[in-house]
Symmetry: C2
Subunit: 114 residues, 2 copies
Amino acid sequence: MASQATGSGHRAAPVHTDPAEVSVLTALSALADPVRIQLVRELAGSAEWTRSCGSFDVSVGKAALSHHFSVLRGAGLVEQRDQGPRRVNRLRREEFDARFPGLLDLVLRPDGSP
Amino acid sequence: MASQATGSGHRAAPVHTDPAEVSVLTALSALADPVRIQLVRELAGSAEWTRSCGSFDVSVGKAALSHHFSVLRGAGLVEQRDQGPRRVNRLRREEFDARFPGLLDLVLRPDGSP
DNA sequence: CCCGGTGTTCGATGAATATCTTACAGTCCC
DNA sequence: GGGACTGTAAGATATTCATCGAACACCGGG
C-alpha cells in the first residue's frame, strides 16, 4: 500500500468533544488548573500541529500530562492527531471561542493585565 | 444614640478582595463550582443589596453556604454588607467585568446558548 | 526482529476542598 | 433580658482530583 505522507496509524484514536456540547462548568473546570493554563498558553504560542504532548515545559510526569490533555480534549479545547509515534496538538481557538466568546482570550492574556 | 436607618453593627466586617488583584486562576476556580454558579446567577437576577445569604435556593447547609460566599468574596465577585441580623449581597458586575471582560457574561448566559 | 522513544492505562497515594454538625456571636423584637 | 433568627468559626468526614510509578501498546529505525 502507498504509505501516507504522515503515517496515520491504526491506533486508538483520541476521543474528542465538540466545543458546542461543552457546558460552562466543564469549560471553567478545565481551565481552573495551573498546569492546563500553561499548556493552553504554550499551545497558543505555537503553530498548529507542531507540538507533541511531550514537548511542553511542565513540571509533572507524563502520566499526569496525559490526564491533563484528556481533560482539555473533553472540554473541546484541544484537538489531537497521531503523527507517527507522537501525538500532535492543536488549540481549537475558533471553535471554542464561538462557544465561549472571550474566555480563551482571558486565559491567554498575561495575568497582570488590567 | 440616634439609631441609623439600617443599623450598621460593629461586627466583624467581611473581608473583601479587589477584583483588580484577582488572578485568572482564582477567578476561574471560584466559578468552577455548580453551587457558586447558581449563587452568581441568582444574584444577577436580583436587585443589589436585596438578597441575604440565606435567601438562596441551594441544596447545601448554611455552613457550606457561608464558605461559598467567602470564596466568591475572595475572587472579587461579591460584595457583602451587614444589614441588621442579615448579610446582604451585591454582584460586583462592573468591577469584575473590568478585570475579566466577558467572563461574567458567559456564566450568566443560559447554559445551552450557542 | 529487537530497541529506544512516545503516550496511555491502571492502581495507589496524597492533597485540596466541599460538606456536615455543633457551638458561638451578633441583631432585632417582644 | 430572653428568645428567635442569621451568619460565622471550628473540627470531623468524605469526596474529588492531581500526581506518581509501573506496566503496556504503538511507532519508527537499525
